[in-house]
Amino acid sequence: MSGVDEHSGETREDAPEAAPTAGPAIGKDEWVARHGERRAARAGRLGVVEARLRAAPWWAWLTLFTGLVALMPVGVESGYWRRVSFDTALLVLLALGLNVVVGWGGLLDLGYVAFYGVGAFAYAFLASDKYDLHLSTILVIPAVVVVGAVAGFLIGLPSRRLLGDYLAIVTLFFLQIFLTVTTNGDNLFGHNVTNGPNGILNVDPFSFAGHDLPVAHGGVFNVAYVYVALGIFVLVYVALRLVNQSRTGRAWRSLREDPLAAEVMGMPVNWLKLMSFAFGAAVAALTGTLFAAVNADVFNLSFSFPLLITVYTAVILGGSGSQAGVVLGAMLIWPLQERLREPADSRVLFYAFVLLGLLAVFRLSLRLALVIGGLLAFGFAAHAVAQAIDPAWVAGVGEGPGRAGDWASHWVVVPTHLAAWMPPVTYILLIASVLVLTLLRGWVRLVLLVPVLYLAAFVWESVMLAQPEPTRYIVLGALLVALMVIRPNGLLGEKRVEIV
């Protein structure tokens, strides 16, 4: 915030750097002035590196990122991974859009994926056999974006009078209405509008200037779509960035920090809320077109609660309010969810996560060595004891061994056959002990960490790997709760100070 120096009448714009050493300056807001100080967290070399990285301009990061992603298909030739990167791009776009509503506007929109669905269905209406319209993509995409913005505007209309919790509920109910209407859409007053649960099939792929962009070449995902997605991502990122740096963005920030004060200061609060809804919905609708074009079949149940939670976790993990953060969050969450479908990779992910977690908590210290050493010793001992009692207790290796599985099969106890009572009992025991562990302190916690981690490995291998589908979502739900309790500002978000 630049202010006028009362003595010399000049404007000073470098206050945040000057303030920490010079103390509060006359004519400046001290709290704002100490913003940089609050941000600077780490001392030493890491702090210097972080400061340098943060000082780089945002478009430099964007260019670097785009360049890296554009080069990626050169190295990665697997159609599967190209498809995964495309899907990650979809989640990135969704996260960017949600960031506008939640991070910048401060509005909890729980119906966000309905706009995604609206965009996909709108594209399907305009470019498929449903109504025999096969419009060119150049026309369809802007049309769908406008439709999305209008939908966001309309659904934001009830938000004018509602506070945070109620808004969340109303938006959630709009999502439910969307799902119900599209499910029963094959009989809306006698008209088949959305084909009900069967969805709209054979949606056109993108076509530019009359040339179709096929989704797959001989079964391999067409890498051109990754580039299309990347291009759209750059467009959306830059556009939203410019909006955020404009006076609309400043108004959003004031609305988010204190709606009442913003209103008193003359901000058009209702209009701002509607605009954030509209922008978020427009981005979601745009992503919907990509989704529809690539998937070729649009089913309304793709746009339901689990996807909503996924987008929210991506936004919260990355840091709501920070565009780069939500991009990072989405890029972490989607591949994670993908790899959790495969038991061999889930196993590796679990152990990697445990190791990273221990590293993050204990840093490189004696305690870390003690815990890891104790864990290994405990594991091998328990395995040996179990094997001695009954070899069938350790013979089951879980699903899909892989290299990690071979190693782990000597460490973790995985019975060939679990008694019916074992999964629920051990699972609940694990949850309870993890929760109790958060209440303990000191060496008791350290000592109990070892058996709890071993129990976690046991539950993961024996119970959770066998069912990837609920396990993926359990990981998401637990991650969301843990994030909100431990670090609500996520990876790159800013710690917000609530002014009471």
């Binding site: 939640v102 401060g106 909890l108 729980l110 009830p158 009078r161 509602l162 945070g164 919790d165 109620y166 969340a168 509920i169 109303v170 959630l172 109910f173 709009f174 439910q176 209405i177 119900t180 209407v181 029963n184 009989n187 009442l260 609660f305 689990p306 939670i309 929210y312 976790t313 919260i316 999964p423 629920p424 699972y427 949850i431 309870a432 929760l435 958060t438 119970v463 959770m464 069912q467 589908e469 609920p470 396990t471 979502y473 359990i474 998401l476 739900g477 637990a478 991650l479 969301l480 709760v481 909100m484 309790v485 609500p488 917000r496 609530e498």
Partner: protein, 307 residues
């Protein structure tokens, strides 16, 4: 006329279940100003605990206890289990966020809800669990009943409605006639002042969650007595219970009861007279209409914020 009576009885049964769930939402909102999204999944866990207890006691086909004692035990087990679950959720997911911006516990509640639903699916699979009450004692609960006009109301429904009513009365007495109830009302009115008057806020909040979750557990059993339960019902039924709470006036206990019954009737009549496909839509639209035109609900007071 017969259809009307049948639908009214349906509405009463549905409404009692929704009222119990709505009471849980209302109690927690009154104290913490938090919409407990996980409440619907606590309801679902209650129905599963009831199922497990029923199976442990021999199942509906071969129970070791007489019918009435069986039902009481199953309900009590579900209530106790859910109370414990509610306390755990409050302690670990909501208490750390008590002073955070209001969006934070909401998102945490979403995470807990998602976690619970998928955990139950992991542990018990996605298939439905049927209490199979029809087999209990040769279907006595279905065959015996009272007749209103030409409509036979089975004993089971009467038990459900009566039990729900009894629980609501007990709750009402607890909140209005006991000291702890007075502490709850004081805390919901002004938390800081209550703390200054020597009320242990943490204990009051825990007690609130115990009450609300126990009611959800009872509702879970009552729901599952008639309809097979599965791991995914928590979300939808929770939404409806929440609608009932808001329609009645969130924060108001008689409002929750009234809202629950009103919603039950609305759903029953829509299912009977219009179509089962659109009953959900009607329920959701009712909420949105209330939010737009009467946000304080039927029995609530308009929320005036002091600046």
């Amino acid at each position: 006329m017969d259809t009307f009576i049948q639908l009214t009885v349906n509405g009463l049964t549905l409404g009692s279940v929704y009222a119990l769930i709505a009471l849980g939402y209302t109690l927690v909102y009154g104290i913490l100003k938090l919409l407990n999204f996980a409440h619907g999944d606590v309801f679902m866990v209650g129905s599963f605990i009831g199922f497990g207890t029923l199976q442990a006691l021999g199942g509906a086909t071969d129970p070791v206890l007489p019918v009435w004692l069986l039902l009481v035990t199953v309900t009590a087990a579900a209530m106790a289990g859910c109370a414990l679950l509610g306390v755990a959720i409050e302690r670990f997911a909501y208490r750390p966020l008590r002073d955070a911006p209001r969006i934070a516990p909401l998102i945490s509640a979403l995470g807990v809800s998602f976690f619970l639903a998928n955990s139950m699916q992991l542990l018990f699979g996605a298939r439905q669990r049927d209490y199979d009450i029809f087999s209990l004692s040769n279907g006595v609960l279905y065959l015996k009943g009272i007749d209103i006009g030409n409509v036979k109301v089975p004993l089971l429904r009467i038990i459900v409605i009566a039990a729900a009513f009894v629980l609501m009365v007990v709750l009402w007495l607890l909140v209005t006639r006991t000291r702890t109830g007075k502490a709850m009302r004081a805390t919901s009115f002004d938390r800081e002042a209550a703390a200054m008057m020597g009320i242990d806020i943490d204990r009051v909040i825990v007690f609130t969650f115990v009450l609300g979750s126990a009611l959800a557990g009872a509702a879970g059993v009552m729901y599952a007595l008639r309809v097979p339960t599965s791991a995914s019902i928590g979300f939808l039924v929770g939404l409806k219970g929440f609608t009932a709470a808001v329609i009645g006036g969130i924060g108001s206990i008689p409002g929750a009861m009234a809202g629950g019954l009103a919603l039950g009737f609305a759903e029953a009549y829509t299912q009977g007279y219009v179509s089962t496909r659109w009953s959900d839509l009607v329920v959701f639209s009712v909420l949105i209409l209330f939010m737009l035109f009467r946000p304080q609900g039927l029995l609530g007071k308009p929320d005036i914020r002091k600046v």
